[in-house]
């Protein structure tokens, strides 16, 4: 009998991708290949992808068409910077201290996620950042995307015992850029360490951006992940945090401004495996035109993880009648002495407040802008890094003037 081979959507996508030039161990290659070969694109039947359809990935053409970015690229002037242009580490930049970009062989981190496995096989840049002192240095990775490309960075962020560090992951795409950004980030926060990551996703309007962060926190550590999807055709972020040690603090903040037909999906999981920890999550966004937003936040509190304080909140404002929000906060608690809360709201701007402001002379546009800024301001207040915060304030301002 003849075997019928059906081509999966991954198979079609792979014909457009160039295998990684980095050396991968046979074991990792075999594992990653096996996962991708036995997978297909997620469908609605897959709970974690119920509202996000990635079929459009196969319409992308990585034709190398170039368009410059008209705005300033850099967010932080006080940071050490590494430039990654169209997925490739810029030449002559591999010697920066604390930043490793050349490898004998790719590190053996992997998960069973098909896009993570795909990232291994087609990795365009592997970058490790190391923090080993308490000086709270800032490293900014600037991903400048000017051609329609497959951009598959693999990032390893290590904040060692007692160290403090700040990372800015700054994704900037040309206005109509149509790339596939596929990022896997592995984060390790050591004992008594304090790490903050600020991720800005200002992608081209046709870009697909799928990112995963896998975070492990050791005892007495603090970790902050701030996520800001500002533009792009489809943005999906999967943030998974394992809190493995006692007395940890975990902060997850997100703010998004969606318009046009853009789609944004933030999935977060914080897994409290042990006792005496605190986590706080705040995601807020405004959705205009025909844009859609998905939020799914999961908090696990394992059986012996007593005295956990976990708070989660997602709030959305619809600026049009045609925008959509699917928000699902989830708590799974197996311990009995914990304090947890979650909440989700979706609404419109308060008409009475708009009228009040207009009666004082503000135009309808100015009134709405002021209310939206106030709404997102609650998230921005959580951003400790001033340069990032003022960048975001300017971006929100621009979002409304466009």
């Amino acid at each position: 009998m003849e075997e019928v081979l059906t081509q999966t959507k991954f198979d079609i996508l792979r014909t457009e991708l160039r295998p990684t030039a980095l050396k991968i161990s046979d074991a990792l290659r075999a594992k990653a290949s096996e996962i991708v070969n036995s997978s297909d694109f997620p469908t609605r039947k897959n709970e974690a992808w119920k509202y996000t359809n990635v079929n459009g990935l196969n319409k992308l053409v990585f034709d190398g068409k170039n368009a410059p970015i008209s705005e300033p690229l850099i967010i932080s002037n006080r940071s050490r910077k590494l430039f990654v242009k169209n997925g490739q580490v810029s030449e002559g930049q591999s010697m920066l201290s604390g930043i490793k970009t050349s490898w004998d062989v790719l590190p053996e981190f992997y998960t069973d996620d098909a896009f993570d496995a795909l990232n291994v096989l087609y990795c365009t840049a592997a970058i490790q950042l190391n923090f080993d002192n308490a000086e709270n240095e800032t490293i900014e990775l600037v991903f400048e995307n000017t051609t329609n490309s497959a951009i598959f960075p693999r990032l390893f962020i290590q904040c060692n015992k007692g160290a403090k560090g700040t990372v800015i992951l700054n994704f900037q795409g040309a206005e109509k850029n149509a790339s596939f950004i596929n990022v896997s980030t592995y984060v390790n926060v050591g004992e008594n360490a304090n790490l903050s990551i600020h991720k800005i996703q200002k992608n081209g309007t046709e870009t697909f951006d799928l990112q995963r962060e896998y975070v492990d926190q050791a005892a007495n550590s603090t970790f902050t992940m701030n996520t800001f999807p500002l533009s792009g055709k489809l943005t999906r972020n999967d943030l998974k945090i394992n809190v493995n040690g006692n007395n940890c603090e975990t902060f997850m903040n997100g703010a998004y401004t969606l318009k046009g037909k853009s789609h944004c999906d933030n999935h977060t999981t914080v897994d409290h495996k042990v006792a005496h920890c605190y986590s706080k999550e705040l995601y807020k966004g405004v959705i205009d035109d025909r844009a859609t937003n998905v939020f799914n936040g999961k908090v696990f509190v394992r059986k012996d993880a007593q005295k956990i304080n976990a708070f989660q909140s997602n709030a959305n404002i619809l600026l049009s009648d045609t925008g959509t929000v699917n928000s699902k906060p989830e708590l799974e608690i197996y311990a009995d002495d914990v304090k947890c809360s979650h909440g989700s709201t979706t609404g419109q701007l308060d008409d009475e407040a708009i009228f009040y402001l207009r009666s004082r002379g503000l135009s309808e546009k100015a009134a709405k802008e002021l209310l939206v800024k106030a709404f997102l301001g609650e998230v921005l207040e959580e951003v400790q890094n001033e340069e990032v915060r003022s960048y975001l304030e300017a971006q929100i301002e621009k979002h409304f003037s466009a």
Partner: protein
Amino acid sequence: MIEIKNLHANIEGKEILKGLTLTVNAGEVHAIMGPNGAGKSTLASILAGREEYEITKGEVTFEGADLLELSTEERAHLGLFLAFQYPVEIPGVSNVNFLRTAINETRDAKGEDPISAKEFMAMVREKSKIVELDSKLASRSVNEGFSGGEKKRNEIFQMAMLNPKLAVLDETDSGLDIDALRIVAKGVNTLKSADNASIVITHYQRLLDYIVPDFVHVLHDGKIVKTGNKDLALELEEKGYDWIKEETQVG
């Protein structure tokens, strides 16, 4: 200043104003009194440009312009101010930030330059004194967590900052204790000049002990049925509104 002629207005198909006529000149204070449901707050809402109301007849001329054709913000730019009966709480928007935006949008509409930060702050200090508003309240979120009295004082503070030609005070006395009432009234009296005017809408005569009106109008069933001087307010306080209703029916 403002001329309201034969104004008819509906909300959800129900006629509330049934031919209201009123003229207010510069330098004057007019009180509008009347029983609940007479249309007092409807008048305030229509003047400020609330869109829920349908104007079926009549006209309103303000500073030579057809008021009903203007947007809410254009009315504000021309110098109309409404002190709300229920001032809105706006979390996250600071009072001063919002007022600076309001002043600058008005200046922009008149083709003037924006106010300088220095000039603005000096104005905040000066005007907050008029209503004895703590300068800390001025920098807090708009009305958020303010007491009833603080909210009303904040309305008058905003009025002082925006310096309107015509102020419409919609039941500003409701929910105020006597001290707050005195402060609010003092604020309104301080701001009074030969170039501006006020329409004070109230259910009770109490406020008019402090803000002395030049004219008192009684609004009943969507029309002004009686006009007099400040003594009319005292008469209403003494006799209630029933005699007006009866008199109107007989008439």
